[in-house]
């Protein structure tokens, strides 16, 4: 009897000692964590030119990387206080769910399923995209409809994979997929002619085409077979953080709408336009209501630039037209609600 008691007692005490502390995070746990740490941990792809790719010096460049910098500038006042965590299509959501990263900006498509069942929320869209097809001109194809029986290179685990499947089913055609996880590997497969078409977000196709020396040998087919709004993803349940991320994006769009850029932002501090004064924190308490410094938007614009500058620096240089990604005043979809 004694033996049993001793055993059970030891076991129980060991268990009690080891039971997890069930501490619930506060409403803005992410913000607290980022401030305490002094850096923002941002999940990016790390291998997509124009979106996120380290340059020869190892510094992450691209529109996704700059989107991360926006949030860092707003929260920490320094756009360089970002730690870029390279995520794969496979671990991006778990990395965010588990709190390993604070924010995910990795050409991730906003879908109902992802928002409803993965415990994630999309705070903004930094690129309105759609699935397209890139083919070699020598193939002699002018439309995706002529692609019956083709072999198509696509990354597994993406929304593209599902979109193509649907497209071919709807159009009663057949295709052979080549599914490779690694981006560089799948692009190499396409260039080598392993597949007839390379399919992913048309932005990525355009940047890919633009970086080829023989770019005129490639053709982007006119069909855009799905809607792919790519954006900022955060964990569900931290509304304050969600607001900060969302308005960091809106601030850049608002700045472009009002022609405030990194070059003129200091002069604009003296502007009489109340919208600009509120944006730059000269007037009102916009920053404080978000739980940030009054200079939050100023820091973004000064250090990273407005949406248009970010775009030009990363995407325009690759020769991709702005299209629907212009601000609404120029006929695009990027539209910032009033900052007041």
């Amino acid at each position: 009897m004694f033996r049993l008691t001793v055993g059970a007692g030891l076991l129980a005490s060991a268990l009690l000692a080891a039971l997890p502390a069930m501490a619930q995070p506060s409403g803005s746990a992410t913000l607290d964590a980022v401030k305490a740490r002094g850096t923002l941990i941002c999940g990016v792809a790390g291998a997509v030119p124009g979106f996120s790719l380290p340059d020869s010096q190892g510094i992450m460049r691209g529109i996704d990387a700059d989107s991360c910098r926006n949030v860092a500038a707003a929260v920490l006042g320094d756009a360089n206080k970002v730690k870029f965590a390279v995520t794969t299509t496979q671990n991006r959501f778990t990395a965010l769910q588990s709190g390993e990263i604070d924010l995910l900006v990795r050409s991730t498509t906003w879908t109902l399923g992802r928002e409803a069942s993965l415990g994630l929320e999309f705070a903004g869209v930094n690129y309105y995209d759609g699935t397209g097809f890139l083919v070699k001109k020598a193939l002699g194809v002018k439309s995706a409809k002529e692609m019956d029986g083709a072999t198509i290179c696509v990354q597994p685990g993406t929304s593209t994979e599902l979109a193509i499947s649907d497209y071919y089913r709807v159009n009663k055609m057949k295709f052979t997929p080549i599914l490779i996880q690694d981006l560089a590997e799948i692009q190499a497969a396409f260039l080598a002619g392993r597949c007839d078409a390379y399919s992913t977000d048309s932005s990525a196709l355009a940047t890919f085409r633009a970086t080829q020396t023989n770019k005129d040998d490639f053709l982007l087919l006119p069909e855009i077979i799905s809607k792919e709004p790519l954006g900022y993803v955060v964990r569900k349940g931290d509304d304050k953080w969600f607001d900060i991320v969302r308005w960091s994006y809106f601030a850049t769009v608002a700045a472009e709408e009002m022609d405030v850029s990194s070059k003129n932002v200091d002069e604009m501090l003296a502007s009489t336009n109340p919208d600009i004064r509120r944006l730059l924190g000269v007037e009102g308490e916009m920053g404080k209501s978000l739980g940030l410094d009054a200079k939050w938007a100023y820091n973004i614009i000064k250090q990273v630039g407005n949406f248009g500058e970010t775009w030009d620096r990363n995407i325009t240089v690759l020769g991709v037209p702005r299209g629907i990604n212009a601000v609404w005043t120029k006929g695009g979809l990027h539209y910032a609600p009033p900052i007041r």
Partner: protein
């Protein structure tokens, strides 16, 4: 777990029934029990802690758990499948089964090929020809020292450099080697072929039975009746008869360039071939070393003695050397087979959709991380256990030779 902590105690009690247990630290039995309870308790506590954390985390993040999603429609395309698959209709469960079959396809063929190649190279290393011995030893040294993943990527890159299908326009060949893979004419499979295959298996069983009878007769009379005519009759003649009686269907499907791709015929895709090639070449280097040391482990005296009693060289190898070498070879060979099977999971890097690749896609599309990893683990444990069991059984059979 906790019952495991109590069982051994009972076992100990049975082992020494006469002596009671003293509740003193100087009693080794008591000490052992305390230690075990402590260690097992600690492990249970850690596991408990992790499980509790996981449950809490899943709740907080509102992630649904359970295997129910396996019966949802998959929607993901799969490049090569052994059994028919339609993303619009079939479920995730079916997709995982396709992955398991693909893993199987690589593992089985890879094991056979690497055994053959490895044995040849292993024998080559013992060759009296200096060049052969040198070349095989360089092969073994180099291939063992390069990560298999690097080798797979390298081979896949090379296979992609083959000419594209358009360059075969106008070709009237039956076999095409392009960057779309190896295209071969294949037989159009009909029920008659299944019957013939069944007949062949039946013939094999009957041949083995006849062989056993022949061996018994040799033991009784000293003369072994010939086996090969019966084998030929049972394993070739009989199936052919079955096939012919069912109408002898022999339509052959030839590959031909049609549109973008080759249509018809059978395909070995570059992904599969690169994986198979990489795994085979890599594992063969290890098997060669095992075979070499196995043969070297047979004392020279055995060869000499066998030659002295007048056995011809083939018989020396078959009756004297191999049975002894095999006993040394089988255990490490088993672990190489297991390694090959496990390494086949690197398929994920070069786009062959094995069970790891499909489960990975699944966990990404559905968000079911724990279930996805659990499936991968379960599948490989099952593979490993079956290979181990089979090889243990075979090893036990071989060991009987020792007497």
């Amino acid at each position: 777990m906790s019952s495991a902590a109590i069982d051994p105690r009972l076992a100990n009690a049975r082992a020494a029934p006469k002596r009671g247990l003293r509740l003193s630290w100087s009693d080794p039995m008591f000490r052992n029990i305390v230690w075990q309870v402590l260690i097992v308790g600690l492990v249970v506590a850690v596991v408990w802690y992790l499980v509790a954390n996981t449950q809490h985390n899943l709740e907080v993040r509102r992630i649904a758990t359970g295997l129910g999603f396996l019966s949802n429609t998959a929607g993901i395309p799969i490049a090569e499948t052994l059994i028919p698959y339609d993303p619009a209709v079939n479920t995730w469960g079916r997709a995982v089964i396709e992955g398991i079959l693909n893993t199987f396809k690589v593992a089985v063929v890879g094991i056979i090929l690497s055994t053959i190649l490895g044995t040849l190279i292993g024998i080559g290393r013992l060759s009296k020809n200096w060049l052969v011995a040198k070349v095989t030893s360089v092969y073994v040294e180099t291939l063992r020292d390069i990560p298999v993943l690097l080798q797979l990527l390298f081979w896949y890159g090379l296979l992609q450099a083959l000419p594209g299908p358009r360059e075969f326009r106008g070709s009237t060949s039956w076999i095409f080697i392009s960057n779309r893979g190896l295209k071969l004419p294949i037989l159009v499979w009909e029920p008659a072929h299944w019957w013939a295959l069944g007949a062949c298996v039946l013939g094999l069983i009957l041949t083995m039975a006849w062989n056993a009878t022949a061996n018994r007769r040799r033991d009784a009379t000293g003369v072994k009746p010939p086996v090969w005519p019966a084998a030929l009759l049972l394993m070739a003649g009989f199936p052919a008869l079955v096939w012919a009686s069912l109408g002898a269907p022999h339509e052959i499907d030839f590959p031909a360039l049609k549109g973008f791709n080759f249509a018809g015929g059978g395909t070995i895709t570059p992904e599969y071939f690169a994986l198979l090639l990489g795994l085979t070449l890599y594992t063969a280097a290890y098997i060669a070393e095992i075979v070499r040391s196995g043969i070297q482990a047979v004392p020279k005296g055995q060869w000499e003695a066998a030659a002295a009693i007048g056995l011809h060289p083939g018989a020396v190898l078959k009756l004297i050397v191999l049975p002894q070498a095999l006993r040394v070879i089988i255990p490490p060979m088993t672990s190489q087979f297991l390694n090959l099977t496990k390494n086949s999971s690197l398929a994920v890097a070069i786009g062959f959709q094995d069970v790891v690749s499909i489960s990975g896609t699944m966990l990404n599309q559905t968000g079911q991380a724990i279930e996805g990893v659990g499936i991968i683990m379960a599948v490989f444990l099952a593979f490993s256990l079956s290979i181990s069991l089979f090889m243990n059984w075979y090893n036990a059979r071989i060991a009987l030779v020792e007497r």
